[in-house]
């Protein structure tokens, strides 16, 4: 996979969540994503960015324009040094939330993108990488 451009953004406030969303939106629309693909990517970005802020206690996001062969896409990486997730399978399950949320963010984001990877350990923070291809 070839990375064509990168933008790193902090996630410290809900304004930052909006900024990450906008960045993903701008690059995806420059790549010619359809309205549906665009909305899916931006919504997934919103979910994970907000998890980084609310559950991870803040962190950072990396937005990348990527190319693999003839395909172009946007890859998003979120990282925090928060409490981490002890049981990933449980956290991914729809309806599971430790915070009166809908518990749909993680599972939903995974369904909205083409590639989804999560690495997390209790006490060691969380890293999520997801890609949506055009």
């Amino acid at each position: 996979m070839e990375v064509r451009r990168i933008e790193a953004l902090p996630i410290r406030s809900s304004d930052d969540v909006v900024r990450v969303r906008r960045q993903a939106h701008n690059w995806a629309s420059e790549l010619g994503f359809s309205p549906v693909d665009l909305t899916k990517l931006v919504t997934a970005a919103s979910e994970i960015a907000r998890n980084t802020l609310e559950h991870g206690g803040g962190g950072s996001a990396r937005v990348e324009e990527v190319r693999r062969g003839v395909r172009v896409g946007v890859r998003l990486t979120f990282e925090d040094q928060g409490p981490g997730i002890a049981d990933i399978a449980q956290a991914m399950r729809d309806g599971f939330s430790t915070r009166r949320g809908m518990g749909l963010g993680l599972g939903g984001a995974k369904r909205l993108v083409d590639e989804f990877e999560i690495a997390s350990q209790a006490g060691a923070g969380t890293k999520i990488t997801m890609t949506r291809w055009k």
Partner: protein
């Protein structure tokens, strides 16, 4: 370093310096005559020179952060604040201080005969005015930021209008990002309007909301539930196809919430609920 003669020269030549400085400002391309009258410019300049002269007498010329400079700093912050709100650019604002350089340098050239001393004094004056200029730009920036914050606050309230479409029917057209702060304002104004008008149906239109994620969905459901408790049914309209698809993939179930693709569909539903029919007036084409 020998003691600078600048404090003494400022005191002695204040009037002449003021004249030269005001002239220099009036000649500058960055002067906004549309925003600042000659009389005001003269008053501002004379006030600044007076407070600068005073500060120089006791303060260190190389350190404007000291207590002797408090009044000068405050004055410049005030000028920056008023210019920021009047619509001056940062450059136009900073020119106020920087334009004093030329007349001050001329004064030094006339009064300081010894070349080495002249270089020294000119350097001191440069550093002093640069620091004061930077302070002005900083203060300008801070004022702009606080103006923007205030405008955002005002926009927050402005952008959540509840309109009565018909007796008993309210519409809440949402536009923009629904962060938690805004959702709170939105929900409150909706509930208040339901109480005030006794409406039995409220249409929440989300055509202008770019992203509907689990948080927004949850806020919307809460608004619907709260409205129900007040005796009003809600219809969510303006769900674009891409939003509908995304909500389904997210796994959000809108449950018993009434949804319509367009605001006009929602209004038609409202008329139906109220037992009203819209008909063409007889005799019209």
């Amino acid at each position: 370093m020998t003691t600078s003669r600048i404090p003494q020269l400022l005191r002695q030549h204040q009037a002449a310096l003021l004249d030269a400085w005001v002239k220099a400002q009036q000649a500058a391309l960055t002067l906004r005559r549309d925003l600042l009258s000659d009389a005001d410019l003269r008053i501002q300049s004379s006030d600044f020179l007076r407070s600068l002269t005073e500060a120089c007498q006791s303060g260190d010329l190389g350190d404007i952060q000291g207590p002797a400079w408090a009044e000068v700093r405050e004055f410049l912050s005030g000028v920056s604040g008023s210019r920021a709100s009047q619509g001056f650019s940062p450059a136009e604002t900073a020119t106020f201080v920087f334009s004093l350089k030329q007349p001050l340098f001329s004064l030094l050239r006339r009064e300081v005969a010894e070349p080495a001393a002249l270089v020294e004094e000119t350097w001191t004056a440069t550093v002093l005015l640069d620091n004061l200029g930077l302070h002005t730009v900083d203060a300008f920036q801070k004022s702009r930021e606080s103006i923007i914050t205030r405008q955002q606050q005002e926009l927050l309230e402005l952008s959540t209008p509840v309109v009565q479409l018909w007796t008993g029917v309210l519409a809440l057209p949402l536009i923009g990002t629904l962060d938690s702060a805004r959702t709170h304002v939105v929900m409150e104004s909706l509930l208040q309007a339901i109480v005030d008008t006794g409406a039995s149906l409220a249409i929440i239109d989300i055509t202008g909301v770019p992203t509907v994620d689990t948080l927004v969905a949850q806020h919307l459901m809460k608004a619907v539930a709260a409205a129900r408790l007040m005796g009003a049914e809600c219809v969510i309209s303006g769900i674009r196809p891409q939003i509908a698809q995304t909500i389904v993939h997210l796994g959000v179930e809108m449950g018993s919430v009434l949804t319509k693709a367009k605001l006009s569909d929602a209004l038609a539903l409202a008329f139906q609920r109220l037992g009203l029919a819209v008909a063409k007036a007889p005799g019209r084409a």
